[in-house]
């Protein structure tokens, strides 16, 4: 495992760190509102919350340029926000409103945004591995220096296409980074029951540069991501990054009784001992890079910002029924 940046770098990086802290809080507050919308029966369908995993999306995306590409998953709100999406258009999309990123046609699992290089979330497990690899193919052919990041849960390790595209990426030396978010569960099954052998070796076997990192430590995620992104941008080829993390909520907002597949105790331990925001905040305070009150203010600010975004989305109109037949063909 890669360790986080050393304290002496702290002062140089303080802007970055405060921004990363803010982004993580934004994601958490966003997701809290999503849960709220579900509970208030205001949201159509379901949603998969990213709470607990914020350090991964933020650590990786802060190592990217705005023009770099990402692909995301069913648990994708965090990736979208970390890449720069704005909460009001996201909430509007979650509610199926015309003002949403996809004019209401995509919903929670399909947020896409060319302006921030977001090629789209995907509701097929591993469904975007090809797309992310293809974006890297374009980047290389067009020589535009962009890098592509493919986020996926460890459940995607079960899909053969992942190995097909890793092979392609390595053969063509494509600037793509496969970021595996191992949150221990694929829906309601512990990953150890569905994952034989050694995860990192599955990438190494195809010649990819691979690394694992504590996905609850945003500084560590950022540091290793930066290295892999630079490497990819230089033309040194694809990489695989395994992030150990945890989702605090259920598989989706409706997955409330979870004890048949994981214990409350386990959930508690992750929340209290390894929370990426709390621990990072504590460290920032210890290093005297931020004071506790300022961090609290950040939380409050973002909470109210998210509430405003929700209000916007709730008030926004649905698309007109005629729009159903638009956008099928370009």
């Amino acid at each position: 495992m890669t360790t986080a940046a050393q304290p002496r770098e702290a002062s140089e990086k303080v802007d970055l760190w405060l921004r990363m802290y803010r982004q993580m809080v934004a994601i958490r507050q966003f997701e809290a509102q999503v849960n709220e919308l579900y509970t208030r029966a205001l949201m159509p369908g379901l949603a998969h919350l990213y709470i607990g995993e914020e350090a991964v999306a933020v650590g990786v995306c802060e190592a990217l340029e705005r023009t770099d590409y990402i692909t995301s998953t069913h648990r994708g709100h965090g990736h979208c926000l970390a890449k720069g999406a704005s909460p009001d258009q996201m909430f509007a999309e979650l509610l199926g409103k015309k003002a949403g990123y996809c004019k209401g046609k995509g919903g929670s699992m399909h947020i896409a945004d060319p302006a921030t290089g977001n090629l789209g979330a995907n509701a097929i497990v591993c469904g975007s591995a090809g797309i992310a690899t293809g974006a890297a193919f374009s980047a290389r052919r067009l020589g535009n220096g962009r890098v592509s990041v493919c986020f996926f849960g460890e459940g995607a390790l079960g899909q053969g296409v992942l190995y097909e595209v890793m092979n392609l990426a390595q053969l063509f030396k494509l600037p793509v980074i496969y970021v595996c978010e191992n949150n221990l569960y694929t829906e309601y099954t512990h990953y150890s029951e569905t994952t034989a052998g050694d995860i990192l070796m599955r990438a190494t076997a195809f010649g990819l540069e691979s690394a694992s990192v504590d996905g609850q430590d945003v500084r560590a995620v950022h540091a290793i991501s930066q290295r892999l992104v630079e490497r990819a941008r230089r033309g040194d080829g694809p990489a695989f990054l395994l992030c150990d993390t945890y989702r605090y909520h259920g598989h989706h907002v409706g997955d409330i009784n979870r004890e048949y597949y994981r214990s409350k105790q386990e959930e508690q331990t992750w929340k209290t001992e390894r929370d990426p925001i709390a621990n990072f905040g504590k460290w920032l305070v210890e290093q005297k890079l931020a004071d506790a009150a300022a961090l609290d203010r950040t939380q409050a600010e973002l909470e109210s910002e998210m509430k405003k975004a929700v209000d916007f989305a709730v008030a926004a109109p649905y698309p007109a029924v005629e729009e159903v037949e638009q956008d099928v063909y370009a």
């Binding site: 159509p44 369908g45 379901l46 199926g96 409103k97 996809c102 004019k103 209401g104 046609k105 995509g106 919903g107 929670s108 699992m109 399909h110 995907n122 509701a123 097929i124 497990v125 591993c126 469904g127 459940g155 995607a156 390790l157 079960g158 899909q159 053969g160 694929t186 829906e187 309601y188 099954t189 029951e193 569905t194 994952t195 048949y260 597949y261 649905y318 698309p319 029924v321 729009e323 159903v324 037949e325 099928v328």
Partner: protein, 330 residues
């Protein structure tokens, strides 16, 4: 249908009962799929089977639809009767090679020497606010493939009886369950009975127009028939129950009798099931039809997330009522 003494089950319970009874009867029947064991699938259709039959027969798999479907093909050839569970019908895209190039062809290519007695259970149906990758009804693809049988039950009674026939069949059978019907209740006998594959069922007798409908569209047709009755139109509702083998005779006879027909199916209308059924009727009842056969399927658009848009993509009682009225010249 035999007397059930008032016993009612939901559609999901009927499926579970068929599986449990078949697993008790035949030790080679086993279940393979994602989250089928402890979780009993996200739809809870399989709850309790793990407890009765154990992990060797209710087998959680990785997210590897192609892999475990292929495994089932080989297992079926060599003495097992696997029932694979593909959570959303949209994911059959991943199994097409195993089902079409392998399962469907093994018997023929081997000159009848090997056979593949397996069942794939999967889902269909929109209006669950699940967006374009979790709402499709793609059964037309399998209907097109010689070597496969395709079953679409519309009631709890049929679900239990047809699933038993499917499991006992010596061929690969694909069994589509509309997930919006899982909670639908209906009479189901407690003991063993089967509904044969290839026999249509007249769900309602009528004189003026034939509504041929599949899966949950049967319920829609029955609802429309009630509305039509109020304006003096007597509709006959015919459910083919299996799309291959197809009971052409019953469909044609009904259309000949009423001289008007609408075919209803939740798959995309273009190049789908409605085309085959309409064409069979148009040919078979050519000299008796007073109007062209009307087709009603899903709109030619990916299923949108936004509720007001999604709701117009599939036939409803009201749209079927309107279409039937127009066809009858009222």
């Amino acid at each position: 249908m035999p007397e059930t003494g008032g016993r009612e089950l939901t559609f999901a319970q009927a499926i579970r009962e068929a599986l449990a009874e078949e697993m008790r009867r035949d030790p080679t029947v086993c279940i393979l799929g994602e989250d089928v064991a402890e979780a009993g699938t996200p739809f809870k259709v399989l709850s309790g089977l793990l407890e009765e039959f154990g992990k060797d027969r209710v087998v959680d798999t990785p997210i590897s639809e192609a892999g475990f479907t292929g495994l089932a093909v080989g297992a079926a050839m060599t003495g097992m009767r696997p029932v694979v569970d593909i959570m959303f019908g949209d994911f059959i895209t991943l199994t097409m090679d195993q089902m079409v190039n392998q399962a469907a062809k093994v018997h023929y290519m081997s000159g009848g020497k090997w056979k593949v007695p397996m069942v794939m259970r999967t889902t269909m149906g929109a209006t669950r606010r699940s967006a374009a990758q979790h709402s499709q009804s793609l059964h037309a693809w399998f209907c097109h493939v010689p070597g496969l049988k395709v079953v679409l039950p519309s009631t709890p009674y049929d679900a239990k009886g047809l699933l038993k026939s499917a499991i006992r069949d010596e061929n690969p059978v694909v069994f589509f369950e509309d997930k919006m019907m899982y909670k639908l209740k209906g009479p189901v006998p407690a003991g063993d009975y089967t509904v044969p594959l290839g026999v249509a069922d007249v769900k309602r007798v009528g004189e003026d127009i034939t509504l041929v409908a599949t899966s949950s569209m049967v319920q829609v047709a029955l609802g429309a028939a009630t509305l039509l009755e109020e304006i003096g139109i007597s509709a006959e509702v015919v459910d083919p129950r299996t799309l291959w083998p197809l009971d052409e005779k019953t469909l044609i006879e009904s259309a000949k009798k009423t001289s008007r027909a609408i075919v209803l199916d939740e798959g995309y209308e273009r190049y789908g099931v409605t085309a085959e059924l309409a064409s069979v009727i148009a040919t078979g009842a050519f000299y008796d039809l007073d109007a062209p056969v009307k087709r009603m399927g899903a709109m030619h658009v990916p299923i949108p997330f936004s509720p007001p848009l999604e709701d117009v993509t599939v036939p409803t009682e009201q749209t079927v009522f309107e279409a039937a009225r127009t066809l009858c010249g009222r």
